[in-house]
Each structure stands twice: as structure tokens, then as C-alpha cells.
Symmetry: C3
Subunit: 159 residues, 3 copies
């Protein structure tokens, strides 16, 4: 995991920052582009059915649910929060940014991904107030496949 | 094309979803970052000339034109819709999302890229109601170039 | 630096465009995801302290300060503006796009990264009118490390 690094030109000023000025990732790697997550269920019917999109009023609970949706994806790919490179945070009210960060930091711990925070008009359901869009990276699978292919080729030669 | 994969933690719930919860891409690859496309011509004068930005009122037609603009880029890079990893969809009215997805699905077929949909104030021209921003990936050119360079070097030796 | 290329399906129409229709990057590479920059200081306290977010009224000066913030990151990573692949530009007033591009072009020179421009409600501080989010790429460090590792291994053998 030494391939994903926070870029900190002035680390002495980073104390209260909820994000790093940038994050670098070295490839080869597997890049994972995660769809924007709200507090709606990760999977839901399209067109939307209102019963699936009853949002909690508390921004903290909305953030927690969005993070849990992303965790389903990360877990499925066997990735940790430390593998997240970039987060784009869409809020309908910028005054809720601190509460959102408070909840996100519980998941990210000491790790600080790169970040952009934007206040927009609406999200995909009327009550949604936060949407989180992430890019993550994991180790490349390719070398393993190459090794397997080589193994198969060599197998024939060894007979 | 086995390097770009939809991440589906619960495939049994994916039936009506117009996007995958995430899409992974393995590198080495060529990543193509496509500029946000609206129904305005792909190339247009800057500063904008109003005659180049007369937008159709129909969201389906706006979506179709934006997709055709992106297709010019994909075709030029010899990439298919299946090579698109992530789409960020900007709408000025979230109620037009279903009509937009209906048109996009005609292009994407069975493929479901990762997606984020946001409702924003305005796009680059007053009548634009949809902007599509995509990231695609294709096979790396580098090995081919290396091979070519090697071929050229070896060519001299063979004389 | 031949790995980052502007994708220009119709180069003869590109004269006044402040961005390329797409930009491709070949990996292996080091991808650098830069956090959204405004005219606020790159590092600042969280929660925000209003004194740190007094924004100049001039969109050109706001753009210049955002670019200078990004330059701190690029310089730290030993990257140039030519290494920037994609820019997402968030404005609170789309009519300020031309002035923003004028300032950005002073930095980018002839180079045209891929671009998406969106008009949103608010940015992270009340007076901020432009936020710039960039993705850059540099040469991979990995081969160097591999070479170093190999050198260390070979060093032992040479004794």
C-alpha cells in the first residue's frame, strides 16, 4: 500500500484539514470508479420508487448511509478506506460540510483523500442532501494473470 | 476487453439500474478523459457565439446530440461505449433523468458504466439542460511502441 | 512527455477552444488527483475561519489565486501545467467563464487539457466564485524503484 500517497507540500499546516491537497497513485494498479452514493439504497428501482428514497433529516445519518453504501463496494473489491484517492462531495447546503466531514473522518481515520466539495441544487431524490463520489485504487491483478498465462505456456514445455 | 469490469456486489438487484455501483479498470491502459459534452457542437468558437448554441427543447434530443459528440471522440480513439468507465451527468432538472437514461441506454446497450448524477444551475450555454462527462479506457499503446522501437533497432542488426 | 496527448478529431476547428475534446494518458504513470482549489489559502483551518476566506471581487484574481494554489501542488510533485490531463471548472456565474479561461491560458500556454465547466450554487466559502479541480499525470516512480532494488541486489553479486 505504498503506492497511494497524500501530497502535502506543507505538512506542518495540515492539522485540521479534512482532505489532502492532492493524492498520487502509481500504476500499474486497478482503478475503481465508484458511482455517486446517497443515503438511498445502493441498488434501487429505476425509474425511482418514492418508498425507496425516504431520507433521514439528519445530515450525519445521510452521510453515514452514503458511506455504508460505498463500503459495500469497497468490501466487494477487498479495498479499505485507505485505498480511496479522491472524493467529490456534493451538498445541497454548504453549511452541512463540517457535520459531513465529522462522519466521514470516522471511516477514513487518519487517512485524508483528495477532495472537492460543491454545493448543488438537487440530488437524485428530493430529500437527499449529500452525495459522495469516490475513486479508489488497488493492486493490479494483471501480473497474476500474466504469471498464470506464462505458467500455462511453460507447463506444455516442461512435458 | 476483460480489463474493464462492472462491480456488482448484489447482481440479483441490478435489473433496472442504469449504472453499475462501480466499474474497475486495470492498468496498464490508456485512460481517456473526455471533456463535458452538451448538445452544442463538439468544436465551437470561444467566446461563445449564440448561433452555435441553439439547443433543442427536447431533453432526449439534447442527450442524443451530447452522445454523438462523445462518439466522435470515442471513434477517433477507436474505442466503443463498452470502454466507458465512468459518466458524470449534469442536469438542470432532475426530473429529466429517466428520459436522459433512456437515450443513453440505446448507446450503451447492456453495458452499465459507473455514474454520478447531479442537478446544477446552468451549463455552458443558456438552453443546455444536460452535460455528460466521461472517462474511458483502452489498451495501452506503450508495449506496441516499445515493440516498434525494438523492431527498428533489430532491423539494423539483421542487415 | 509523449504519453499525455490531446485528442483532436478535427484539429482544424480547434483554434479558439480553451480545452481539448479529450486528453489521453498512457499508464504506467503516476496519477495525481488534486483537490478542488479556490482563491482561499491551500491550507486553512477546519471548521473554516472567516478571516482566511476573504475573497477578491475580481474573478481574474480569484482564478489566479486558485491556479497558484494548484501550482504549489504541481511544483511539489515536479510536474508542469503540461502534465494536467483534466480540469473540472466550477463557477457560480457562467458569464465569468471567458475571464477565467483568459487567466488559465496564461498558465497553460499552448496546452489544452480536457475540461468540464459547470455553474453551481455555492463553493466552500461564501465569496468564492471559482473552484478548479484537476487530474495530472507524471512518469511512474515504480521502474526507478525496481531499478534501485535490482541495483541493490546486483551490488551484492559484484563483490
Amino acid at each position: 500500500m505504498n503506492k497511494i500517497e497524500a501530497v502535502q507540500p506543507r505538512p506542518e499546516e495540515a492539522a485540521t484539514m479534512p482532505y489532502a491537497p492532492a493524492v498520487s497513485v502509481e500504476t500499474p494498479a486497478e482503478l475503481v470508479f465508484i458511482s455517486g452514493a446517497t443515503s438511498s439504497p445502493l441498488y434501487h428501482k429505476h425509474p425511482h420508487v418514492p418508498e425507496e428514497h425516504v431520507q433521514p433529516d439528519d445530515i450525519r445519518e445521510q452521510t453515514r448511509r452514503a458511506m455504508e453504501n460505498i463500503k459495500i463496494v469497497l468490501d466487494h473489491k477487498k479495498l479499505a478506506w485507505r485505498n480511496v484517492i479522491k472524493v467529490t462531495k456534493y451538498l445541497t447546503d454548504m453549511r452541512e460540510a463540517d457535520a459531513m466531514h465529522e462522519v466521514m473522518n470516522r471511516y477514513f481515520g487518519e487517512w485524508r483523500p483528495a477532495s472537492t466539495t460543491i454545493c448543488i441544487n438537487n440530488l437524485s431524490s428530493p430529500g437527499a442532501r449529500v452525495e459522495l463520489d469516490m475513486i479508489a485504487a488497488g493492486p493490479p491483478n494483471q501480473p497474476q494473470r500474466h504469471r498464470d498465462a506464462e505458467l500455462r505456456r511453460n507447463k506444455g514445455k516442461n512435458k
